[in-house]
């Protein structure tokens, strides 16, 4: 579904290398195994949705991709570069400085927005441009304004987060991420903290991003979004990917019993 627009695809990207490649990744918290032997490939300009019951490991997997969560086994590569560890044989965790280089190309949108409450919407968007991209203040502010405009919030530029609705806060958070021109955006349940009537405006912004060819990995409970926007859907259950494929296959043709059960309870909860 997402149309490939030549403007957003960056010339330096080699289309043969997948954007994200997850191979045999495992992670435990003490005795509790949260991820086991995960394989997942996300190609450029693809939208991949991670669905599954709570506690299935989908948020943990997402957070491993930009190394906010440390994975113990296997490897994750973004555009061919190993995430979080050195390539050399006895692998060593990268320093914070080295991690920064990785993270500047990977945006993340959080469930709780995580805007900085003491900065206006505009300052929230401009901050990383100044600190990470080294832009001067005027240029950063001008760029930030364009980004707020893109998510339809130009007139809220000078509002503090506390004065914005949840949906508006999440759109600012998305503007903060796209301002950095990331190659990939990770969404961690971006609409789960929102009142139902505010979900639509955030999903619309995400649809626009997908249509512009942004590569996105989205942990979500919005099955409609997964069905209509995603190129691939991964169903996680107890730390494993139990089903993976185009939405039509996963939602209608999979024989996986846990998935059927999950979708069943999902339908029941949403019908009235």
């Amino acid at each position: 579904m997402p149309a490939m627009t030549e403007t957003e695809t960056k010339p330096r990207l080699d289309p043969a290398v997948p954007m994200v490649s997850v191979r045999g990744v495992g992670k435990s918290f003490g005795a509790n195994v949260v991820l086991r032997d995960i394989d997942l490939t996300v190609n450029k300009s693809e939208v991949v949705c991670l669905i599954g019951p709570s506690g299935s490991g989908k948020s943990t997997l997402l957070r491993c991709i930009n190394f906010l969560e440390v994975y113990d086994r296997g490897e994750i590569r973004i555009e061919g570069k190993l995430v979080g560890y050195t390539e050399a044989a006895p692998r060593r965790q990268l320093s914070n400085r080295e991690l920064r280089d990785l993270r500047r190309n990977v945006g993340m949108v959080f469930q709780q927005f995580n805007l900085w409450p003491h900065m206006t919407a505009l300052e929230n968007v401009a901050e990383a441009l100044i600190q990470v991209r080294g832009m001067d203040k005027a240029a950063a502010v001008a760029h930030a304004r364009r980004m707020l405009d893109r998510v339809g919030l130009a007139e809220k530029a000078d509002s503090y987060p506390a004065r914005l609705s949840g949906g508006q806060q999440q759109r600012v958070a998305i503007a903060r991420v796209i301002a950095m021109e990331p190659h990939l955006i990770l969404f961690d349940e971006p609409t789960s903290a929102l009142d139902p009537e505010l979900v639509g405006e955030v999903l619309q912004v995400m649809r626009d991003l997908a249509a512009d060819g942004m590569t996105m990995v989205v942990v979500t409970h919005e099955m409609g979004f997964a069905a209509n926007v995603a190129d691939k859907v991964a169903f996680l259950d107890r730390g494993r990917i139990a089903a993976f494929g185009p939405p039509r296959e996963v939602f209608h043709e999979s024989g996986e019993p846990r998935l059927k059960q999950f979708l069943q309870t999902y339908h029941e909860r949403n019908s009235f």
Partner: protein
């Protein structure tokens, strides 16, 4: 109270008040800076360092300020640390305050929502930048009431410095009381004066608080 007394002793009292303010301001500055450094040291990965910081804080908070002052002023010269009364007073206030400020900062650091730091990390911001632009402002908001309270407490503690002969207001007042025999009136006046002073510090603090937390008004529609 005889007004001529105030004329006679006015300059001395004023000078004393100057010393009080100096000790308080310098003590607060040292305490805040040292307390912040202690908080950062207490967060390092080095266990012995963390223990040392913890021990320092517990010892300072577990002993009376007066004993700390005596140790510094009377005990100091034994190990070659010979300080003037005022210097010892300022240093004492600073050390005493630092333990409490460190605890305030520690709580403030922990109170900054983890997600705000993660958002900054995921944007590739350097730790120094995150500390300066995200954590510190967040800490300022949550710790300001406690900081103001501690500064008000330190205002009161300055009178203890009179015991080690720092020529601050209380000391000058006691000199005056001893020389004029108007002891009770002088002390009553002093009580009222300090009452106002502490009240003023607290008021100013509350105003600063209101300024700093301006942006927190209005609730959001987020369910969390």
């Amino acid at each position: 109270m005889d007004l001529t007394l105030l004329v006679d002793y006015g300059p001395a009292l004023l000078r004393g008040f100057g010393v009080t303010i100096l000790c308080w301001a310098a003590g607060c500055a040292i305490g805040l800076a040292l307390g912040f450094a202690l908080m950062l040291l207490g967060r390092t990965g080095l266990k012995p360092l963390r223990w040392a910081v913890r021990a320092y804080i517990e010892v300072i908070r577990g002993t009376p300020f007066l004993i700390q002052l005596f140790l510094l002023y009377s005990g100091g010269p034994v190990i070659g640390l010979r300080l003037e009364a005022t210097t010892a007073g300022i240093l004492g206030l600073g050390v005493y305050g630092s333990a409490y400020f460190a605890e305030i900062f520690r709580a403030g650091y922990q109170a900054v929502p983890k997600g705000q730091v993660e958002a900054a990390l995921s944007l590739g911001m350097p730790y120094g930048g995150i500390l300066r632009r995200v954590i510190l402002p967040g800490m300022l908001v949550s710790t300001l009431p406690a900081i103001v309270n501690m500064m008000a407490i330190l205002t009161k503690e300055t009178v203890v410095l009179s015991i080690i002969t720092v020529p601050e207001l209380m000391y000058e007042m006691q000199t005056m009381a001893a020389e004029t025999f108007a002891t009770f009136e002088t002390i009553l006046g002093m009580a009222l004066f300090y009452w106002l002073l502490v009240e003023a510090v607290s008021r100013l603090g509350r105003r600063a608080e209101a300024r700093v937390t301006r942006f927190l008004t209005h609730s959001s529609n987020a369910r969390a």
